[in-house]
Amino acid sequence: MTGGRAIRAETRKLLSLPATYFTLLGTLGVSAILSTAFSRQDVSPVGHTQAGFIVLGVIAVTSEYSGGQIHRTLTAMPRRITQHLAKIAALLIVAAPAAVLTVLAGGPRSAVVGASAYLTLTTILSATVATVLRWSVPAVAGLLGYYFIAGPLLRDRAPFAAYLPDAASHDLRSLGGSAVVLGWVLVAVGISAATFHRRDA
């Protein structure tokens, strides 16, 4: 019962942020434009799109920390693990349809399931990183630096790169890549829940 109400509250909070709409509409627009412009070039389809979902995951968490919203949140819902899982669930509820829409607008349509699953999971992963860091600028810089610079460079040079959380972005049709991301997400949610549970708000 409490869980359901917590999820409803978190979803309403997330949907009340102008930044959520700004990010999602921006991602949708940019993705549509890029896919039209670069349709003839061999570019990873979700390559640039995932930036928007990374930002969404970070904003969902760090908005709690600008201006002390987190104190109000924890007064209303003192059970931290429940609160944290409710936030993740709310993010899933918002990110999954957005991911499907973005993939339909930008492609690849042949891999809608894989691509949307990947984008949704990446949103959750970003939220867990932001939970541990609590500041939006380091979280965004670190995540984008990894997904757009370190990750692609490692892919060609290291054999273990196939097991990193960004590997699936290049092979969306096989669900094995998404399974790897799911594994990372489960571990990351565990870590972020434990951190959030133990630390001062």
């Binding site: 920390y65 600008s66 201006g67 810089a141 630096g145 460079l153």
Partner: protein, 238 residues
């Protein structure tokens, strides 16, 4: 001068700045080390080290963004609901002077970072020639101009997320501006693609620019963005 010292101290007190310094030094050196053997097998690469320094500019981007955005964020429990910018403007009421000293302090840091990073990176290249060291000023200028570009964008948005996203995305392995250059030759005049010419010799782009021309094009972009940023900063409430 005291305002400049103050800005320098504010910057060096930020953990993000030191993280950016670490990224700026370690990323290009490590990449060059990894790429050196592959380049040797393919019979040498005139741009070895310099291509990697173009990725290392992400350190300069973070510095440029954080220098401005740190004045506006209220995240963290110690912020007390206030923003640094109100204090900064109380101490240095002239907005022009505040902005100039801030950008000067940030540029000093980035120039030092670029000089150190490019020297270390060139050390990892086997037997760099004298002409390679001649390209180092180009690297330093490119990093400083990119950081100023980042600051100019952040002045407009007052929030670090958008400029960081746009600029880091465009530092990625396949940059958006590079893809645009496949569609229209005009894209070669984007600040990053024009600025590259200052230190990269082999560029696969439809328009060829001399190093000095490329630098001037990039400077024009930076000047325009900073002018817009300053007008907005002067005109609005803190």
């Amino acid at each position: 001068m005291r305002a400049y010292r103050g800005e320098l101290r504010k910057l060096t007190s930020l953990p993000s700045v030191w993280a950016a310094v670490a990224v700026g030094v370690l990323l290009p050196a490590a990449l060059t080390f990894l790429n050196a053997s592959a380049a040797a097998r393919r019979g040498g690469n005139v741009d070895l080290g310099f291509q990697e320094l173009a990725f290392g500019v992400v350190g300069a981007i973070i510095l440029g963004v954080v220098a401005v955005s740190s004045e506006y964020t209220t995240e963290g429990e110690n912020a007390g609901g206030g923003r640094q910018i109100t204090t900064s403007l109380m101490v240095v009421p002239s907005r022009r002077r505040l902005l100039i000293t801030k950008l000067a302090a940030m540029s000093t840091l980035v120039a030092a970072l670029a000089a150190v990073s490019s020297t270390i990176t060139l050390m990892t290249v086997e037997a760099p020639g004298a002409s390679d060291f001649g390209r180092l000023p180009g690297v330093v200028l490119y990093w400083v101009l990119t950081a100023l570009l980042a600051s100019g964008l952040t002045l407009l948005t007052r929030n670090g997320i958008l400029p960081l996203t746009v600029l880091i995305l465009n530092t990625s392995v396949v940059t958006v501006t590079y893809l645009l250059a496949k569609l229209t030759p005009l894209a070669a005049f984007f600040p990053d693609l024009a600025g590259f010419r200052m230190f990269i010799e082999r560029v696969d782009l439809p328009v060829q620019l001399a190093p000095v021309t490329g630098g001037l094009v990039m400077t024009a972009w930076v000047a325009a963005l900073l002018a817009a940023g300053f007008l907005v900063f002067r005109g609005r409430d803190a």
